[in-house]
Amino acid sequence: MTLFAFMLRRTLAAAPMVVLMIVVNFLLLKAVPGDLVDVMAGESGIATVEQMADLRARFGLDRSALDQFQAYLSQLLRFDLGFSFRYSRPIADLVLERLPATALLVTVAVLAAVAVGVAAGVLAGRRPGGRFDRTVSVLSSLIFAMPSFWIGLVGIVLFAVHLRWLPIGGYATVGAPGAGWPHAVDVAAHLVLPAATLGLGYAALYARVTRAAVIETSRLDFVRTARAKGISETRVTLRHILRNALLPVVTLSGLKLGSMLGGAVVVETVFSWPGLGRLAFEAVADRDVNLLLSLFLCNSLLVIVMGILVDVSYAALDLRIEVTS
């Protein structure tokens, strides 16, 4: 089977999932007490019963649920996520505006987490039960038991308030130049704490997965073949063990990348990072459930897309090497 055919098949297999997601989203939308017109009436103050009925007819809210669902679907197909009356703007615009900051945060956090987690996992897996292995195991248990927003706040108290090494929050210093090198350095400084906070838990997770994969791979015969060549242990580890152990880690990070927005909500709130997560928090604070549901839908779709990408890249690797195990 060619890669393209596989991609097509995998995408088609995800289609029912997408439909189910849209249906659930629609049902949740309808479950919200009070409809759009109630919200608008609340916003604008007083509205008569006639005016509200008129508005309901205009938005199609007086029609049957099935009709409304059809309208909702065709709206989604045009990439129209609806309108936020709190912000007086189309939701799609809001999402696109906040996307880059979250993409930056999540990408940096994942890359850092993979780097730190894989390195720790390899060193721990080389000597299971050794001092380093036990340290990593205890540390990751501690990290798993701490709420990430609390880790972030402790980081702020330590590194921003007391040591004054890093800014306390935000995307960039207000009033600083908005472009060029100084801007990049400024943003990078603002990025350190949020990315570290978001990445820490994932680093602990990757360390555990890598450790297990390294221990598993070390037992395989070809590692002995590599050792028989008389090459250095470092080379055996990096070229032979790690390269084979990385596959599950890559899979996991691809899947986690899609669901990282959940963690980003909390972290972006802690650090006032102007991304999608912060938008979700603002939606909650403003009781803008429509906006929250749109973000939920976008994230659900992102998870599915990431799942397809991971499977396809796995298949691409497999077509090349066909790991039989």
Binding site: A226, G230, H240
Partner: protein
């Protein structure tokens, strides 16, 4: 036979795992240009003996005794340590070629790495040497195989690649651990013949670890019979098949399939070579 020229001398080798002895006071020699078969059932300690001679025993093994290669003490040293100390190489051919090759590296990458382990060979020279080695183990179209991944090759071809890997270090001795067990019956003889030919061409010593008496009859010059970590017999191959002195050796020969009864396990190479032995012919000729 040139048994008077020992290349590897094993003296009082003992190997224990977590207190349990796998090998107990093993002593024998291996001569250059000779095929020495180390025979025994699984669990007899033959494989771990071979691994420790090649410097590949697992780190948790407690090893005592003495193994010398051309007079130099090599026991307990990894292949890398031996190379750095300037000792000639003892290479290993593994049982399962599927598992012995790294699935994510090409054939070429794996052989080049073995060639370059000496730290002196450049990339281009190593590639040339790798092609030479593929040719030496009779892999057709070595240029094409060079850039392919192991899964594209048949079992027999993979075992040839494993042998090429072993030859990369220009070893003076090969330890072959059940080199034909994982292969198709039709391929087994080819691989065995290849090993014998390489031993002759390159003047190596070959320590052949096997449980298959057919393989022994076909390839070996000398037979070392092991059981429960101890050496029971150390004799010339004709001598051994004519009449083992130890009761276990006699029982083993008697149990060979196809000798006396038609029941029992599937006939193996042993069947085809058995008549030759009775006729008193040379071992490798059948």
């Amino acid at each position: 036979m040139k048994a008077n020229n020992p290349l590897i001398v094993v003296r009082d080798l003992s190997i224990a795992f977590a207190g349990a002895k796998a090998v107990d006071g093993l002593s024998f020699t291996v001569a250059a240009g000779e095929v020495t078969a180390l025979v025994g059932e699984s669990g007899s300690g033959k494989t771990v003996s071979g691994l420790s001679i090649a410097g590949l025993a697992p780190p948790e093994a407690r090893i005592t005794g003495r193994v010398t290669l051309a007079g130099a003490d090599i026991l307990g040293r990894t292949p890398r340590e031996r190379r750095l100390a300037g000792h000639p190489a003892v290479s290993m051919v593994f049982q399962d070629p599927q598992a012995a090759l790294n699935p994510v590296l090409t054939i070429g990458e794996q052989i080049v790495e073995a060639v370059r382990a000496d730290g002196r060979t450049g990339a281009r020279a190593a590639a040339a040497r790798a092609l030479e080695l593929l040719d030496l183990v009779r892999i057709p179209e070595p240029g094409r195989r060079f850039s392919e991944y192991p899964h594209r090759l048949s079992g027999g071809m993979r075992q040839r690649v494993v042998i090429a890997l072993a030859l990369a270090a220009s070893p003076v001795a090969l330890v072959a651990d059940e080199p034909t067990t994982a292969l198709d019956v039709t391929i087994q003889a080819q691989i065995l013949q290849l090993l014998i030919r390489l031993k002759d061409e390159l003047g190596m010593a070959l320590l052949l670890i096997t449980h298959d008496l057919g393989v022994v009859a076909e390839a070996a010059d000398r037979v070392l019979l092991m059981r429960d970590g101890r050496l029971l017999e150390d004799r010339g191959v004709r001598d051994f098949f004519d009449g083992p002195r130890h009761p276990y050796g006699r029982a083993l020969l008697a149990a060979r399939p196809g000798r006396r009864t038609r029941r029992g396990p599937r006939p193996r190479l042993a069947d085809t070579s058995a008549p030759c032995l009775i006729g008193g012919e040379g071992s490798g000729a059948c």
